[in-house]
């Protein structure tokens, strides 16, 4: 059959975000595929050099839309490392709470995203409705639903509102009781299994070649390589949780790991709410107005475990009012660009969105 050139996205219901896959297909089998990024490029790294350390907090959550809190966390961690700031104890626990709620939200979104390309819209409706519950909690905590701008250098912006603990417990109790329904609906559903099992396999050796982290890595290598365990930040060394792993990474395994991680996240949130101390939530970075803060010179990299893998910022300061350079390590950069080019060929056209969804590719963090 003749080879046909085909663009999937950026305007396509199956695509995740504003990126396009440029593919050459033979029938419905992909011969070659390349990601065409850049449609969401807003020059974040350049803009950050022209804004003060504090101003940037309004800009950075936009680098990853569904999980913005990791951006704020790594940015704050870098400033704290450069300026040698002691973060108040309570702030560490609040940060963990926010990061885990965000992880829950994006895993739910992945379940919804899996429903789209497989034609199971029920999953999407359920997951988006459940995610909305988390957004409401975020609105109460930070004032915003999507971009929270809540984790700032030195701690968090303000203390938790009164009575939020009860609402969070009520929400996670309710979600935990209904999580088995997701397993029945998606993971055990014969029509979905037909699309996910033994499809889009990520072999173990490829992980090292590409530099894939997160669920992609853990599902292939069988090693509990999670930054929360390997280099604990905040107070992850004080809570108990397991890191689910597997040794055969097909789409079904990766979805199952996301499912199992949701239970672990709920477990962490419970412990955080139990163990959270009282006290101050924010330390000052420098004297005077926040818009005149200066950060001591230095070059530092910090990373956290996002839902998609290692998410980090490299920050260079020359001791001025603005950062000299901030470089973003998007968690999905390896699997989104090189992984797609090398390992998507051979699959069917309709498997491309499943690659995006199960590998957790977020296009704004590639176009930063």
């Amino acid at each position: 059959m003749k080879e046909v050139k085909l663009f999937v996205g950026p305007q396509h219901p199956g695509m995740h975000g504003n990126a396009s896959i440029h593919m050459y297909v033979d029938g419905d089998i992909i011969n070659r595929a390349y990601l065409l990024p850049g449609m969401l490029h807003r020059g974040f790294e350049k803009s950050m050099e022209k804004r003060t350390w504090m101003n940037n907090i309004a800009l950075i959550p936009r680098i990853c839309v569904p999980e913005p809190d990791t951006n704020e966390m790594v940015y704050a961690m870098n400033i704290e490392a450069l300026a040698n700031i002691e973060v108040p104890e309570r702030a560490h626990w609040i940060r963990m709470l926010v990061l885990e709620l965000a992880r829950l939200a994006i895993h739910l979104m992945a379940f919804g995203g899996c429903g789209g390309p497989t034609g199971l819209y029920t999953a999407m409706y359920w997951a988006q409705a459940d995610r909305d519950g988390i957004l409401e909690l975020f609105e109460e905590i930070s004032g915003q639903r999507i971009y929270h701008m809540y984790i700032v250098a030195g701690g968090v912006r303000k203390d938790l509102p009164k009575g939020i603990e009860k609402k969070i417990i009520a929400y996670i109790d309710d979600l935990e009781a209904r999580l088995p329904d997701y397993e029945e609906l998606v993971l055990n559903n014969p029509s979905i299994r037909k699309r996910l099992v033994d499809n889009i396999i990520l072999p173990k050796e490829v992980v090292w070649e590409l530099g894939v982290t997160g669920i992609g890595m853990r599902s292939a290598t069988g090693e509990p390589y999670d930054l929360r365990k390997v280099t604990p930040y905040a107070r992850y060394d004080k809570v108990e949780f397991d890191v689910p792993t597997a040794t055969y990474s097909d789409a079904q395994t990766r979805m199952t790991l996301k499912y199992l991680e949701m239970y672990q996240t709920i477990r962490i949130i419970r412990q955080v709410l139990d163990m959270m101390p009282k006290g101050k939530v924010r330390a000052k970075v420098d004297d005077g107005s926040a818009l005149r803060w200066k950060v001591p010179a230095g070059q530092v990299y910090s990373a956290v475990e996002a839902s998609r893998g290692e998410y980090g910022y490299y920050t260079v300061s020359t001791g001025e009012l603005m950062p000299y350079r901030v470089a973003v390590r998007g968690a999905s950069f390896p699997q989104g660009l090189l992984g797609l080019e090398k390992y998507l060929p051979g699959h069917r056209i309709d498997d491309a969105p499943l690659w995006f969804d199960t590998m957790g590719i977020c296009s704004p963090e590639i176009d930063r």
Binding site: G38, E209, Y301
Partner: protein
């Protein structure tokens, strides 16, 4: 500073001529190499357990007329993170690719080529455009690129007529 880091830094110092060592955060070491040593050093470090390249990026030190290439490497066994850095001439920014050591660097090199103009010899893809479609100015993350001036030149401010919209029901 724990023993693993100390032992590792001692080993590297014995093998290569280091320009500088720093400890910017817990479990993090920055190592500055000469441009000639970097490939040997990266191969040695990868063999020592730093199998993951997290990031390859560049910093434009315009006052020194130098680009600094930064390789962030991570060892999952002991959790130690390295910043391997080197400086290259800003007027002739040419560097040999590291894709034979870390294949995952392929797209990072394209990214750095596009935004800083550093050429990576041996990476045939590094010249292709990736993010910036039909870019017609100096690479945008260089410090001498002025985004506002570019925008003014590329998209001149248009003059609008006072009433450019018509009233509802009125013909143009």
């Amino acid at each position: 500073m724990n023993n693993i880091i100390k032992e590792f830094v001692d080993n590297v110092t014995a093998k290569f001529e280091l320009m500088g060592v720093d400890y910017p955060a817990d479990l993090q070491v920055s190592l500055d190499f000469d441009q000639r040593d970097i490939h040997n050093a990266l191969a040695y470090i990868k063999g020592a357990g730093w199998t993951q390249m997290s990031l390859l990026t560049c910093v434009d030190w315009i006052a020194d007329n130098e680009f600094q290439l930064v390789f962030i490497l991570f060892n999952w066994k002991n959790g130690v993170r390295l910043q391997v850095r080197t400086r290259i001439d800003r007027d002739k920014p040419v560097f040999t690719t590291i894709t034979n050591i870390y294949p995952g660097a392929q797209y990072y090199e394209r990214d750095v080529h596009e935004f800083f103009g550093v050429e990576f010899e041996g990476n045939p893809d590094s010249y292709k455009q990736l993010f910036l479609e039909n870019w017609d100015d100096i690479p945008p993350l260089r410090k001498d690129f002025d985004a506002i001036a570019y925008s003014d030149r590329k998209y001149p401010a248009r003059k609008y007529k006072a009433n450019f919209s018509t009233e509802a029901g009125e013909s143009k």
